[in-house]
Amino acid sequence: MIEAVITLSGIGLLASLGLGLAAKKFAVHRNPMIDKVEQTLPGGNCGACGMAGCTAYAKAVVEEGVPVNACAPGGAETARQIAQIMGVDVSPTESRVAVLLCKGGKGESLSRFEYQGIMDCKAAMIVAGGNKACAYGCLGLGTCEQVCPFDAIHIDRTGLPVIDEEKCTGCGICVQNCPKQVLTLAPQGMRVHVRCHSHDKGGKVKKVCQVGCIGCGACVRVCPYDALSLDDGLSVMDYSRCRQCGLCIDQCPTHNITGLIQGQSKARIDPSVCTGCTRCDAVCPVDAISGQSEKPHAVDDSRCIGCGLCRSVCPVDAVTMLTFR
């Protein structure tokens, strides 16, 4: 009996000694910061940061000093948390969403031929650059839908991708994979977009697509904030300047510029008429109007409910109500 106890205890002691030594000798030193950083990440492994996945990004942040705000899906909150862990300052990043720069679905744009082959935009590009008559147009075979790691893109009946802004994290994978470069990233909350990226001349655009940008410049002339400019026959939006007044939407002869909700009214203040009396600001029930006294006021479309109270109080008739098609 006593021999057995001694033997077993001896074996136990020896084994624990061995294990203890091995644990010391073969210990893997992993920076605990990496685990902490990784816990703050969304875990989607989308690769938008340029690394293989979330763990790789966490490691790169801690060990290689990669910027802490590279995680697009995580956005500002994740960046702030990582910055706290790493003890660095981070400038706030704006969260972005993918936007389709084409409106030419099956009904609106012509195709040159019937495409037979692999149903993938990149594969279709091999065959004469895709079957769309417009060299810039969306092929609608759904490469973006397939690559989206967050299930935010679906091709609709007209053959164009629809982006679910709730799900889109702005990782940009679809933008990288689109062979026509018809997708772009725009700041979240932006509603007004020029939905075309054809640099063709107006006549050529008209021939192949009913809703393309013909580069007439009407939107550029009407924009009070210089957010739109003509670049080689195409109206291009500078999102940092756009205040979403929506004046351009009505001007576009091909109804290419979209924004806001169809059928909804929004108040518009003409900055050249507005005297800055602040009466509209005072009367607005949803606090959608802002501006300094004696300076032109502006309407925040995301708040405006189209009630029209501001128009009724405006002494100089600077307010108009626009209804969007």
């Binding site: 031929f113 082959g117 692999i118 993938d120 594969a123 004469a128 650059g129």
Partner: protein, 450 residues
């Protein structure tokens, strides 16, 4: 009779050469307008030497080659340059081209000079002439010939193969050329012999062209300096690397290896004849033989065609469409590219125009792979097309690279043989594009790091 080996794989499509094999080469007429693309070869595109409104003479250089791997283009007739713009190109995209409105006189430019004693020229002079006259490979790939004839230091070429196999079904352009102008081919060979100093020469012809084999043997005379080798009829017998394996039993190394690496040079018969024309008569590459054929053409023909002739004009020359066309293909049925407009011009690499009536075109939806292994058996490059297609579908580019995706020659045997009708060549082309794009991204990243 010299010994021949065999290459792995291959398929046996019905060759259908009967439609046009007995039609002697006719000279096609002058179309109302010619579109001469500035990109007709592999390599840098040409810069136009003329401007809109300018008058040009036949044979005048109108596009200058940019860099070593490039070839100039010449005016195929005399007339007026009406436009320099982007036109539809056989590659499918819109690419820059020069539009010429012929004046009808077809007058040659003055500086066309031939020479009788051309074999006494030095190899460098001969190469310069071939480069200046815009000669490129006329088998289809259109690689500039002078580059092929200039092996870099340390590489010697000991064998020259003249490729008259024409293994693509339907096409008979090379066949007619060998039958009717065998002398030109032989003389062209002599020129290349002088340049490279090779002693082993083969003329490879598939055994289904006995007239061509006979004509070439006749032309070589009693003391032949080259061997005419009849080859087993099998597609893709005429593919460069397969031809080398068959004739000299050497394997071109995979992953970017060239025939040069095993001391062999392969030239198409059409190219060989053009080399002779260029050196002996000073005629630049402004014409080529094109087979216009297929069940959808009223009267299939072999035509001598000016480069830049729109294919619609040639189809009219051959009596037009027999019934509603289903597919118009530039090249042969195995590797040719389907076109969506007949405004496409003939370029230096165009060997045939193939028209199938709509009733002959069956499009079947691809089924699931049944793992029968047929594609593996027929692949002449010993690849596994079914697995590569799967890698393409899943985006497994590293895996695809390890399985030699880039070695695919896009011959179409796998897609031809696949019982499930999977568009394997399309997948492989897509895959190759993706792998190359990935490599470019990697390179970019590495240079950014530095």
């Amino acid at each position: 009779m010299s010994k021949v080996w065999r290459f792995q794989g291959g398929v046996h499509p019905y060759d259908k050469k009967d439609l046009s094999r007995d039609k002697p080469i006719e000279v096609a007429g002058l179309p109302p307008r010619l579109i001469v693309p500035l990109v007709q070869h592999i390599g840098a595109r040409c810069e136009p030497l003329v401007s809109s409104g300018e008058l040009v003479k036949k044979g005048q250089k109108i596009g200058e080659a940019q860099g070593f791997v490039s070839a100039p283009v010449h005016a195929p007739t005399s007339g007026k340059v009406t436009k320099i713009d982007n036109f539809p190109h056989p590659l499918g995209r819109f690419l820059p081209a020069i539009e010429i409105e012929p004046d009808g006189s077809d007058e040659w430019t003055e500086d066309i000079q031939g020479r009788e004693d051309f074999l006494s020229l030095s190899p460098d002079d001969l190469r310069a002439v071939i480069r200046e006259k815009g000669i490129v490979g006329m088998g289809g790939a259109a690689f500039p010939t002078h580059v092929k004839l200039s092996p870099p230091q340390g590489k010697t070429i000991d064998t020259l193969i003249i490729n008259g196999s024409e293994c693509e079904p339907y096409l008979t352009a090379d066949f007619r050329l060998m039958v009717e102008q065998s002398d030109k081919v032989i003389q062209g060979m002599r020129i290349m012999m002088t340049i490279l100093g090779v002693e082993t020469l083969f003329i490879a012809i598939e055994a289904n062209k006995p007239e061509a084999i006979h004509a070439m043997r006749e032309a070589l005379g009693n003391e032949p300096f080259a061997k005419v080798v009849p080859l087993k009829v099998k597609y893709p017998q005429g593919a460069e690397k397969q031809l080398i394996k068959t004739l000299v039993n050497r394997e071109v190394p995979s992953s970017g290896g060239l025939p040069m690496d095993v001391g062999v040079l392969v030239q198409n018969v059409g190219t060989t004849a053009s080399i002779f024309d260029a050196v002996r008569f000073g005629i630049p590459l402004v014409e080529r033989v094109v087979t216009v054929t297929g069940e959808g053409i009223r009267e299939p023909k072999n035509l001598r065609v000016r480069i830049g002739t729109p294919i619609g004009y040639l189809i009219e020359t051959c009596g037009g469409f027999l019934e509603t066309p289903g597919k118009v293909i530039l090249g042969g049925p195995m590797m040719g590219v389907s076109q969506y407009t007949t405004d496409i011009p003939v370029v230096k690499g165009t060997s045939g125009i193939l028209v199938f009536p709509a009733t002959h075109v069956h499009v079947e939806d691809p089924q699931s792979c049944i793992r029968c292994g047929t594609c593996v058996r027929v692949c002449p490059k010993n690849l596994v097309p079914s697995a590569l297609a799967l890698f393409a579908k899943r985006g497994l580019l590293d895996e695809a690279e390890r399985h030699y995706a880039l070695d695919c020659i896009e011959c179409g045997s796998c897609a031809f043989a696949c019982p499930a009708k999977i568009p394997l060549v399309h997948w492989l082309r897509y895959l190759k594009g993706e792998v190359l794009a990935k490599r470019a991204r990697q390179r970019e990243r590495e240079t950014n790091k530095k």
